[in-house]
């Protein structure tokens, strides 16, 4: 066989690779060719008003879809955080998938698939089930969590291992709530999210101490449902935290998604109805054990005493509440994760401390843990100061809290 014929034959696998690569890359290429979608112009105020209108009337259409959450918070490598487990702590690093079925505000199902495991949250009327296949445990809650939190998507706030900031609706609401006078709100170029044309609202903190460069919320041009929230840290090209729809369909999901009967042999527990979490942002909150929020808006700093032995007790839960009122969705997710029952928070803290650097100043001394989006200061006198701010702001808060 001639050299030429041989070369021609080897052209076939090259072509096969090219075809496969093209098929893999088709989505981005088509998006690039089509360019940004163009929607009728709306100012930021108009958008916010329209959204507020659609939220207050609670006309969230029935839908189902896949939400992808990606966190690259720059956390130190923590054991047990990798992989696709259903533990809420695992949401703090890597990319995770969540499936959402939304019938109406009384019928919601969230599914967190893990490898050979699954965590489900099913809300149907006044009944709520939390199913953990790995633990073979179904937890039953009664009450109406949706009404309690006042959110369009009735999510539990503290009792669930699924962080509250997981759906775009909720994350966007949290981000927008935090926007007061300290935020510049602009509308950027329209984007395509989950194949739908979307407005993009950019929230930029005005304060210099915040680690957040901006928060970008993509809002569906048709339904005004937030489709994606991205939190960019200063000096990073990729979002530090992102949660958004990968695919979404606006049609009523099959009703069997919202029914749940504990399978035979499963452990059935009766859960405490999730306490209504206050969402007043920036308010200085005094809790029984000394947990409070210093500063307001983007500069909010959580000051608490270190969870000594009972990390899952009152201090953990109130830390979660405090941070979910803090605004930045990254904070909400991480603080909620820390109080979740997925992994042992004490072990996690120990591991994290090993990568912390020693710092000292007029405020005292302690250890500082820095990530892209979050600074955590553990003072030697047993306090924990954390926020999406520069370490200097933490020192100030630690000094003021003496």
């Amino acid at each position: 066989m001639s050299k030429r014929a041989r070369a021609v034959r080897w052209g076939v696998p090259v072509a096969a690779v090219a075809v496969v690569a093209a098929a893999v890359g088709t989505g981005p290429v088509i998006a690039a060719v089509q360019g940004d979608p163009s929607l009728p112009d709306r100012t930021a105020q108009q958008l916010l008003a329209d959204m507020a209108g659609s939220w207050s009337s609670r006309k969230v259409p029935a839908m189902s879809g896949t939400v992808v959450e990606t966190a690259s918070l720059g956390l130190p490598a923590l054991p047990g955080l990798s992989g696709g487990g259903a533990s809420a702590l695992s949401l703090l690093s890597g990319s995770h998938q969540l499936k959402v079925w939304y019938g109406d505000e009384d019928r919601v199902r969230l599914m967190l698939p893990g490898e050979m495991s699954e965590t489900d949250l099913i809300v149907n009327g006044g009944q709520m089930w939390l199913w953990d296949s790995a633990a073979n445990t179904a937890t039953h809650f009664t009450g109406h969590p949706g009404a309690a939190t006042g959110s369009p998507v009735p999510l539990p706030s503290a009792a669930s291992p699924l962080p509250t900031a997981l759906t775009p609706q909720h994350a966007a609401q949290e981000a927008l709530r935090a926007a007061g006078g300290d935020t510049r709100i602009t509308v950027a170029d329209d984007v395509t999210v989950a194949g739908r044309a979307a407005y993009q609202v950019v929230l930029t903190p005005k304060t210099a101490t915040s680690l957040v460069r901006d928060v970008r919320v993509a809002i569906d041009g048709e339904t005004l449902i937030p489709l994606r929230v991205q939190v960019y840290a200063k000096g990073a090209a990729e979002p530090a935290f992102e949660v958004g729809f990968d695919s979404v369909t606006f049609s009523a999901p099959a009703p069997e998604n919202f029914t749940f009967t504990p399978p035979a042999g499963a452990k059935v527990e009766e859960g405490r109805a999730p306490a209504a979490a206050g969402h007043e942002a920036g308010k200085v909150r005094d809790a029984a054990d000394g947990t409070r929020i210093a500063g307001s808006g983007w500069d909010s700093v959580l000051v608490t005493s270190l969870p000594a032995t009972d990390a899952k007790g009152g201090s953990g839960a109130s830390a979660a509440n405090g941070a979910s009122g803090n605004g930045a969705s990254g904070n909400g997710a991480s603080a909620n994760g820390a109080s979740a029952n997925g992994a042992n928070p004490a072990n996690l803290l120990d591991t994290a401390l090993r990568s912390a650097t020693r710092v000292s100043g007029p405020w005292g001394s302690g250890r500082l843990l820095r990530t892209k989006l979050l600074s955590v200061l553990l003072t030697d006198d047993g306090r924990l100061v954390a926020g999406a701010v520069t370490p200097e702001a933490l020192y100030q808060a630690a000094g003021a809290a003496r």
Binding site: A16, A23, P113, M116, S133, A134, P263, A264, A266
Partner: protein, 328 residues
């Protein structure tokens, strides 16, 4: 046992200078086997050989006979039968182990086996998909071309007017049949053991939904088919490697090393971006069948990934096999 195998065993005892004669005998027997079909009488063998060598009147029928002959050889080789025996034995081991150590904690998939024998099939695939099944497939596919080349029979196979492309297609079809058979065997063995040792009833899916035993059986079948598709993709890779060498053991080892390395790569969180491009990371997606509703999107992507591997490595095998000099 085939005439070819018998001949090979006979000739093992012969002296080395008989080697040329032996390979000719092999090829002649192969052609005869190929044209007369395994079930037919060998009365008209001579005519059949003549037909096979000098005409290609019915290519489709010829291909079918060639395939039947290849499948017959694959499933009569003692080595392959031993591997299939191991594949059938692993679910038995799992079942017996769970039966002995039965606590019924119900948590993990293997823990659920004690409560429902049908779950044993899912547990068996969970345990065997990472290494045991791929090893068996790699042995058969890695041996497909390199084994013939190493034995010196490849040259004589190509004497028949089948053509290299058709021979390669037949070899790959044989590998696919073996993948299907291996996965079916695992499922059936696990079912038999599960039914024998444990109670059988409605199956609890990962979503907490309970489906009837009949639907559970359907899902078992789908898991076996999905796994077979994943193994067929590995078969294409191993076949491509097999065309690159004349040492069958090298092709087998290279394929197994590829499987292990890609699993290691898939387990490193820092390079999680490569995960969707690895063949091995899609194998475990059969858990989508255990959800309610079935995660068809995820498994559809898995099947597309398998198809991409088959296309790429199949074309590599074709380019190499149709252009290489057959020296042995």
């Amino acid at each position: 046992m085939s005439a070819r195998e018998t001949l090979t065993e006979e000739t093992v005892m012969r002296v080395a200078d008989d080697a040329a004669n032996r390979t000719e005998q092999n090829a002649a027997t192969r052609a005869a086997d190929d044209t007369s079909g395994s079930g037919r009488s060998r009365r008209n063998t001579a005519t059949a050989v003549h037909t096979a060598v000098h005409t290609a009147a019915h290519p489709a029928a010829h291909t079918a006979r060639l395939l039947a002959s290849e499948i017959g050889l694959t499933f009569r080789r003692p080595r392959n039968l031993a591997m299939l025996g191991v594949l059938a034995a692993v679910p038995v081991l799992i079942g017996v182990a769970v039966r002995i150590a039965s606590r019924g904690d119900g948590g993990s998939l293997i823990g659920q086996v004690a409560g429902n024998g049908l779950v044993l099939t899912f547990a068996a695939f969970l345990v065997m998909l990472p290494l045991v099944l791929p090893l068996a497939v790699a042995v058969v596919a890695g041996d497909a071309v390199a084994g013939e080349a190493g034995q010196g029979t490849l040259r004589y196979l190509l004497v028949a007017p089948a053509g290299r492309t058709r021979l390669l297609a037949v070899k790959y079809a044989d590998v696919v049949v073996f993948c299907l058979a291996a996965c079916a065997l695992v499922a059936l063995s696990a079912l038999a053991v599960g039914v024998a040792l444990f109670p059988v009833g409605p199956v609890t899916l990962l979503s907490g939904t309970t489906v009837s035993a009949a639907e559970g059986l359907v899902r078992v079948g789908l898991v076996a088919l999905y796994s077979a598709a994943g193994m067929a993709a590995l078969g294409a890779v191993a076949l491509a490697v097999s065309t690159l060498t004349e040492a069958a053991i090298g092709a087998v080892a290279a394929s197994v090393v590829l499987v292990v390395v890609s699993q290691v790569l898939g387990a490193i969180p820092q390079i999680a971006v490569v995960r969707p491009f690895l063949l091995t990371s899609w194998w475990s997606s059969f858990d989508g069948l255990l959800r309610d509703p079935m995660a068809t999107d995820e498994m559809g992507r898995g099947l597309l990934a398998f198809l991409a591997y088959i296309v790429i490595f199949g074309s590599i095998a074709w380019s190499r096999f149709t252009s290489k000099d057959i020296t042995a």
